[in-house]
Each structure stands twice: as structure tokens, then as C-alpha cells.
């Protein structure tokens, strides 16, 4: 019975996407913090991708991209007041899409995640969307494969991600404009963090012949880059006049802003105190870190107890817990790991009243 309803729900979703032209996805993506739903549905849809190729291709990528983005977001905001708990049930209740800085981060990292996944898919070779346009820019038609090869996988990923996510934004207001811009910021984060790799292959291996290409950097680095942009996000003064005169779907709406900067409209709410109507759980009972400075600890983690607990008016309570952990592991590639179980005592810090 449950199996049946699951399949039915999935078909309904496909129907929705095809009919209403991405109404649901739009909604989900627009509201940022609610995109946990998307991950859920997309994983559901993955199984159907073989029978419905057209949607499956995109759904797979959106699903995996969003999943990757969620993980990254939660990692990056582990020690912040807003801890990117975008899958929590309370948040989904809030109907109003809030155009805050945090939403901007989620939008950007989702866009980056989808682009990252599309690029990877393009590389792994079973992706039909991966087109072959000329690698030479500024020339109509470009080259064909035999003449000058196809364009970079990353460029293809960027294009596809733009097409995919930007067409989902159908509204024409401030939030939509912000969403589009943050999508771009996410894509730019992927391209700007790319690594440049070269290989020399001239006569006797010398560098008289050298070929270089750009390579996706690790997603963690992208997440960190976007977080830096989040700290320097710009607040946009949106007024209704702009809506009438300009088409917010165009990139040139914010020509003065650099493409990689993030924008938001509303001020962030106070994440310290729980607020049911806004769906904020508050920082009460949250964990913070007092890791010793033996290793290089990131700033947000070092400041976490002050930032998450004390500045919110809570006390930090230390508890020592006994945890069973694995140790003395012996690993055999690919898939076998034999470990002993050890008991470790760990200090934990929580925010309490």
C-alpha cells in the first residue's frame, strides 16, 4: 500500500512539473530554507529516471546537487547561530519566502551544487544534456568536435544549471530578482574556485607543448567561498518601481554588482530565541565547540560558544560523555575496514538557560 502511494505521488509530481511548469520546484527553491522537501522528492524520482528520461536527467542532478548543497551548508554553518537546519519540520510551515541573507546562501549553494553535479555528470559520460557547442567564444556556430573539440565540461554545466534553475523562477519581483542573482553567484563560485592544471607534453616531455585546463575544485572549497560571500552579502533596496520598468529575469538588473556577490532584501531575524511563527528553533540546547588550539581551528568554531550561547544570553554547560568509537582500523581498498571498538571520553558544550 505504501509502495503504491509512493509511486503515485512521484507520478503526480512529474505531472505537476510538466503541467504547471515547475510550479512546485519554483516554490521549493524560492523559499530556500524549505528545499529539504526537494531532496526528498528528488531521491524518490531518481528511481523513475530510467522510465522518464527527460525529467529524470534533471531531477537526478537537482536532487544530488541539492543534497550535496544541504550537507555543505550544514557543515559550514555548524557553529553559527543559524545552523542551516533546513530539513526541520518547523521551517516548512512558514509560508512566506523570506529574502534573508541565509536564504541567499541556500540559493547560491544550491545553484553551485546543481552546477557541480551537472558538470560531473557531463564528465562521467552518460548525460545527454551535455551539448557540444564551440569552444571558441564570440564566434557564431563555433567549432565542431573534429575541428576544435567541444567546450569545457564546466561551461556546459554552467549553462545547463542556469537554464535549469533560472527557468524555475517565474515570478517578477524583488525576491525573484534576488534568487536569480544568487543563482548566478553560486555558479560564479564554482567557476572562480576552479583549479588550473597543466600538463607538459612537448619534445622529450618538455614544456614546449603544454596543455592546461580548469578543474572543479572540491565542493568544500566552494562552500567556503560562498560563505565568505555570505559575510559580505549586499542588502538590496528593492522598490516596486523597478519591477515595472525592468525585467528582473535579466542579469543586467544589477549591473553594478559583481556577479559573484550575494544579495538579500530583508534583514535576518534573531536566531537566538525560538520563534514558532518564523520557524526558528533558537540556539537553546545547541552544541558549541571549545576545541584546543593544537590544530588550526576555523574562526567560526573558535568563537562558537560566545556566538551561539553567551551572546544569545545562555550559559555554556560542559558535560563529559562516554562514547564508543572505532579505532585501530585496518583498511583494505576498496571496501573492507576492520576496526576495534574503543571507549572515548569527550567533553561537550551546550547552551543552557
Amino acid at each position: 500500500m505504501t509502495q503504491h502511494s509512493l509511486v503515485w505521488r512521484a507520478y503526480f509530481l512529474i505531472f505537476l512539473i510538466s503541467r504547471v511548469h515547475s510550479w512546485s520546484l519554483n516554490k521549493i527553491l524560492m523559499t530556500g530554507p524549505k528545499f529539504g522537501i526537494l531532496t526528498e522528492n528528488a531521491t524518490l524520482l531518481m528511481s523513475l529516471s530510467s522510465s522518464h528520461k527527460g525529467y529524470g536527467l534533471f531531477m537526478d542532478s537537482i536532487g544530488r546537487g541539492a543534497q550535496r548543497a544541504t550537507q555543505e551548508c550544514q557543515y559550514q554553518f555548524q557553529w553559527e547561530r543559524w545552523n542551516c537546519d533546513i530539513t526541520s519540520a518547523q521551517l516548512m510551515q512558514s509560508e512566506q519566502p523570506r529574502a534573508t541573507k541565509e536564504t541567499a546562501y541556500v540559493q547560491a549553494i544550491t545553484s553551485a551544487g546543481v552546477m557541480y553535479d551537472l558538470t560531473r555528470q557531463c564528465s562521467s559520460g552518460f548525460y545527454n544534456v551535455c551539448s557540444c557547442d564551440g569552444s571558441k567564444q564570440g564566434e557564431r556556430g563555433g567549432y565542431d568536435w573534429n575541428w576544435g573539440g567541444c567546450s569545457d565540461n564546466v561551461k556546459v554545466g554552467e549553462k545547463a544549471a542556469k537554464k535549469l534553475l533560472d527557468t524555475l523562477v517565474t515570478k517578477r519581483d524583488g525576491t525573484a530578482a534576488m534568487h536569480l542573482h544568487n543563482n548566478m553567484a553560486g555558479r560564479k563560485a564554482v567557476t572562480k574556485t576552479m583549479r588550473f592544471v597543466c600538463k607538459c607534453h612537448g619534445i622529450t616531455g618538455s614544456c614546449s607543448l603544454r596543455t592546461c585546463w580548469k578543474e572543479l575544485s572540491k565542493f568544500r572549497k566552494i562552500g567556503r567561498y560562498i560563505k565568505r560571500k555570505y559575510h559580505h552579502a549586499l542588502q538590496l533596496d528593492w522598490n516596486e518601481k523597478m519591477k515595472d520598468e525592468n525585467d528582473p529575469r535579466r542579469r543586467s538588473l544589477f549591473p553594478v554588482l559583481p556577479g559573484s556577490s550575494m544579495i538579500y532584501i530583508e534583514k535576518s531575524p534573531n536566531y537566538c530565541k525560538a520563534n514558532k511563527t518564523l520557524g526558528i528553533p533558537g540556539t537553546m540546547n545547541r552544541q558549541c565547540s571549545r576545541r584546543h588550539k593544537t590544530r588550526k581551528v576555523p574562526r567560526s568554531e573558535r568563537r562558537s560558544c560566545r556566538n551561539v550561547c553567551r551572546e544569545c544570553g545562555y550559559r555554556v554547560q560542559k558535560t563529559t560523555v562516554e562514547i564508543l568509537s572505532t579505532c585501530n582500523c585496518k583498511f583494505k581498498w576498496c571496501c573492507k575496514v576492520n576496526c576495534d571498538t574503543c571507549v572515548v571520553y569527550e567533553d561537550r558544550y551546550h547552551c543552557v538557560k
Binding site: C130, S131, G138, I203, T204, W333
Partner: protein, 547 residues
């Protein structure tokens, strides 16, 4: 040496010729920059992790990453993954499969012989985990097979090209303070190099066999993904390059014939410099000869090696020419015109060339047998390769010291001669002025060409690097322009030498009509001369007598 065309050419004609050659050079540069695409293209293919469900290790089976014979794919290799646990998959059952090149726009792309050659490098993604750290200097052992298939063939009909078990040293670093799940930054590993492309599709299957006793693949950490970067020459670049080579080949060859006929007309055996210049022309035309075109019809795997040899021969010949040219213009008392006088310089060149040749044979020669071979992967091989390269470097250093010394001698003599020029007779002054002019002209031309090469090279390297020229939409392909421009420039250099340093008819006529012997004898008795000048003059008169 008798008078050459250069000395008897009027300024007007010289400038016209210079402008013509300059225009030619700019044309080559622009053809490379505007018509040709980038010299090479990179295709990145992420490996598909195939599950080999056979009970026994079956090395003859191909695992294909897509199409109707697609293998059973593993989503990830995590020890906790459901499929891995359920089927208790071991490393023997995991095959990384790569179908080269990747599909684009919904259809399979084919390799063509136009791509000339391809080089595959491996990128290994290793996830960091405190529990399974990377050992010190880990060695990755790859059990690798390369197969190929054509478009019309049966989808399952992959023919094996090569198979080997190869060791590669992993060099990975991790950013400080990064924890679980971070990926190491690993250096690229060379996988294989093919000197000819005769099939449409290539398939690479890689296994990582683990053997605790022998220590294979033990400390390699959590290898989660492997991708291949395939570098191949672009078809468009091949076409442009071949057309350019054909044009240059015809040009150099016709000039060479003209040059030789000029010498034949002299009615005397050609002197050393003329013979050297002729050989330079011959080597240049061999380098220009577009034999790569044969690859479009026939499979020639040794083309890379042949190209290296042709290029090396040209460099060696050019260096020999410089030395002999400088030597023949020293203007001291020694009677030169003999190759044996240059044995020091030439042996340095030959020694250096042989070193590089042996090295190249070790690398590309063995690659003909085993495309996965690379001399750099083993420490002994690296030492050997470095030894050859260092020896070649020392030889090159010696050569340049000799050459610089020789040029220094020439310069010294030139200034000495210049000081005494006004006191000389008409004929001798003309002779020395001619020698000085010829030398200076070649020196200038050579320096300009060398400087241009260096500047272009640096520019192309910078342009390739992270620092780019202006806009990304810039439609000038600088790397291609560099190759066509520099190649064209050295061709033009050789052409210029062949045409300007060919023996001049005018001089021959003048000397014949000058009623030389008596006049020179008179001059000899009239002028107080230093010994060196006398001997030089004697050389001149003897040559005149020969004529």
C-alpha cells in the same frame, strides 16, 4: 668565400625582400591565431565503477561504461554502502571503466586520425579519513587494459591494444587542519600515450589489486574516484599545421634547388659554409615535409618518435651552422674551410643530441611496445632520464661557451679590422667590409629570431596560465599563433639565409674582370701589412686564383 648575394643587393631590394618576409611571418602568425583552434583539446572522463560479478578474476572481459553492454555500476565504494555490504564486494570486483572520448549532444563522439596523437593522464580522488591514512610515499599499482573499437563494429567487440600492470608514485597533499571527507590534492599521473589514432573509440579498464604480502596498493587511502584527462591534438590545428608545412616545404625545397644550381654554376667545389648552409636547408625541408599526412591513411605509431628526431636534427644542424658560420668569419691567419677544425663544437652538439636521442628512445621508443610505459615513474628510470638530460645540458652549455668565445673572437677581429680599414686598398677594404657586413647581418637576424622565440614562448605560457590577455572572448588563439609563428619564423630565417648567402654572380664577374693577380701583387708590395692581414689577403688571392 666569394661574394654573396647579400653584399651586392641594393638597399631597395633588401628592404623589399625584408618586408616580404615580414609580411609572410605575420601571415603565419595570423593563420595560427585566427584560423586554427587551440593546438590541443582536453576531454575529461570520470570513471564508471563497474561491478565484476564473476567468481573468478576474468581479465579478458571488457567492462563498458555505457551503451547496451553497460556494466553493473556501483554508486560508491564506501565500505558501509548497502550494495558493497550485501554482495561483500572486494577490490578484485571493482573495475574503473572509461570510454574515451565522452558523448556530447546526445551522441557518441569519435576520435579521428586527424587528432594525430593522444595522451591520457590519471587523476585519483582520495578521501581523507583519520582512520585510514595515506602511507608515506604510497605506490599505486594499476592493472590496466586499453581496448579499441570502430563505429561499425559490434558493440561488444573491443580489441585489446595493450595491457600492463604499472606502478605509479602517488604524491598527495592535504590542506592543514582539514578533517574527514576532504579530498587530497594529488598530482596527475601519466597513464598512456599513443602516437597514432586509428580507432574511433577507446576503452580503458583499470583495477587496483591489493596484496598485503607484497605491499601493493596498501597505503593508498580511500580511493573514491578516478578520472582520465585525455589530451589530443585538435583536428583543425592539424589541418592548418599541415597546410602550412606543405607550403613551407615547397618554398624551402625550391630555394634549395636554386641555391644548389647557383653553386654548381660557380665551376668550383662548394666551400664549407655553402655546404653547411645547404645541409641546413635539407634538414629544414625534411622537418617541413608533411609526412604526418600519411597518418590519415596508414597507421604509423612511431610518428611521435620520428617527429622528435626530425626536430632534434634541425636544432643540431642549426647549432652547427652557427658555429661554422662564426668560425669562417674569424678573419685570422688560419686557413679554415675544413670541418675537422670544428670537432670540439660539433662533438658537443653530437654528444648532446645522442643523449637526448637515447632518452627519447627510452621513453617514446618503449612506448611503442607498451603505451603505459613512462621512464619517470620509477626512481631508477628518473635518475637515468635526469642523467641523460643533464649530460645533454652540459653539452649544450659547452657548445654555447665555444660559440660565445668564437663570436668574441670575430668581434675582436672586426674592431681591429675596422680600425685599419682606411689604410687598406680598395679591394681589401671591400673584402673585409663584405665579411663584416655578412657576419653582422646574420648575427642580427639570429638574435632577432631567438628573441622573438623567447618572447613568444613566454607570452604563450603566460597566456595559457591563469593570467589571460584581456577579454576571455578574445578571438586570437595565442598558443596556436605561437606555434605557427615561431615555426614560420625559423623557416623564413633559413629561406633568407639560402637566398641572401648564395654566391653572387656579380662578384664572380667582377673578380674575373678585375684582372686580379697583377693588381693584387702590386698592392701587396705597396702596403705595409701585419702578418695576419697578409695571410688573409693571401687566402683571398688564392681563392681568386681558384675562381
Amino acid at each position: 668565400m666569394a661574394g654573396v648575394v647579400l653584399e651586392n643587393l641594393s638597399w631597395k631590394k633588401l628592404i623589399i625582400l625584408g618586408v616580404f618576409l615580414l609580411v609572410l611571418l605575420i601571415t603565419f602568425f595570423l593563420v595560427g591565431g585566427l584560423v586554427a583552434p587551440k593546438p590541443s583539446n582536453v576531454v575529461t572522463v570520470l570513471g564508471t565503477k563497474c561491478y565484476d560479478n564473476g567468481k573468478k578474476l576474468n581479465r579478458s572481459k571488457w567492462f563498458v561504461s555505457r551503451g547496451i553492454h553497460k556494466c553493473e555500476e556501483l554508486q560508491n565504494l564506501d565500505p558501509t554502502d548497502e550494495m558493497i555490504v550485501n554482495k561483500s564486494i572486494t577490490e578484485k570486483q571493482v573495475v574503473f571503466s572509461f570510454w574515451l572520448p565522452g558523448p556530447r549532444g546526445g551522441e557518441e563522439r569519435k576520435m579521428t586520425p586527424l587528432f594525430q596523437n593522444m595522451l591520457a593522464v590519471l587523476q585519483v580522488d582520495i578521501e581523507h579519513s583519520d582512520k585510514v591514512p595515506l602511507s608515506k610515499n604510497p605506490v599505486l599499482q594499476l592493472d590496466v587494459r586499453l581496448g579499441a573499437r570502430d563505429e561499425g563494429d559490434d558493440e561488444d567487440d573491443w580489441k585489446q591494444i595493450a595491457s600492463s600492470v604499472e606502478d605509479r608514485n602517488l604524491q598527495c597533499t592535504l590542506e592543514k587542519g582539514k578533517g574527514e571527507g576532504y579530498l587530497y590534492d594529488c598530482e596527475l599521473l601519466q597513464l598512456f600515450e599513443l602516437g597514432s589514432i586509428s580507432n574511433h573509440y577507446y576503452l580503458v579498464n583499470i583495477r587496483l589489486p591489493v596484496n598485503f604480502l607484497k605491499g601493493y596498493n596498501v597505503g593508498i587511502g580511500k580511493v573514491v574516484d578516478i578520472s582520465i584527462h585525455l589530451i589530443h591534438q585538435n583536428g583543425g590545428f592539424t589541418i592548418v599545421w599541415m597546410s602550412m608545412k606543405s607550403v613551407l616545404f615547397v618554398m624551402v625545397l625550391s630555394l634549395l634547388i636554386w641555391f644548389w644550381r647557383r653553386i654548381m654554376q660557380l665551376g668550383r667545389p662548394p666551400n664549407l659554409l655553402e655546404r653547411t648552409l645547404f645541409s641546413l636547408g635539407v634538414v629544414m625541408s625534411i622537418l617541413d615535409c608533411p609526412i604526418e599526412l600519411l597518418q590519415l591513411g596508414v597507421d604509423i605509431p612511431f610518428m611521435l618518435l620520428l617527429n622528435d628526431i626530425r626536430q632534434g636534427a634541425f636544432y643540431a644542424m642549426l647549432m652547427s651552422f652557427w658555429v661554422i658560420f662564426a668560425g669562417e668569419h674569424i678573419m685570422d691567419q688560419t686557413e679554415r674551410n675544413r670541418l675537422s677544425l670544428y670537432w670540439k663544437h660539433l662533438s658537443a652538439i653530437i654528444f648532446g643530441s645522442i643523449c637526448l636521442f637515447v632518452f627519447d628512445m627510452c621513453e617514446r621508443g618503449i612506448q611503442l611496445k607498451n603505451p603505459f610505459f613512462s621512464i619517470w615513474v620509477t626512481s631508477a628510470g628518473t635518475k637515468l632520464a635526469l642523467a641523460f638530460i643533464i649530460l645533454a645540458g652540459i653539452a649544450a652549455g659547452c657548445y654555447f661557451l665555444f660559440l660565445c668565445y668564437m663570436i668574441f673572437c670575430v668581434m675582436k677581429n672586426i674592431s681591429a679590422k675596422k680600425a685599419s680599414l682606411p689604410t687598406m686598398s680598395q679591394l681589401r677594404r671591400k673584402y673585409y667590409l663584405g665579411v663584416i657586413y655578412r657576419f653582422r647581418f646574420l648575427m642580427m637576424a639570429t638574435l632577432v629570431c631567438a628573441a622573438c622565440t623567447v618572447v613568444f614562448f613566454i607570452m604563450s605560457q603566460l597566456n595559457e596560465g591563469e593570467w589571460r590577455w584581456g577579454d576571455e572572448d578574445l578571438s586570437l588563439e595565442f598558443t596556436s599563433a605561437f606555434f605557427t609563428g615561431v615555426f614560420g619564423m625559423w623557416n623564413i630565417y633559413v629561406c633568407g639565409l639560402l637566398s641572401l648567402y648564395a654566391p653572387s654572380h656579380k662578384t664572380v664577374v667582377e673578380i674575373d674582370s678585375a684582372d686580379g693577380s697583377t693588381e693584387e701583387n702590386v698592392q701587396l708590395t705597396q702596403l705595409p701589412t701585419t702578418p695576419s692581414e697578409t695571410s688573409a689577403l693571401q687566402a683571398l688571392t688564392s681563392k681568386a686564383a681558384q675562381d
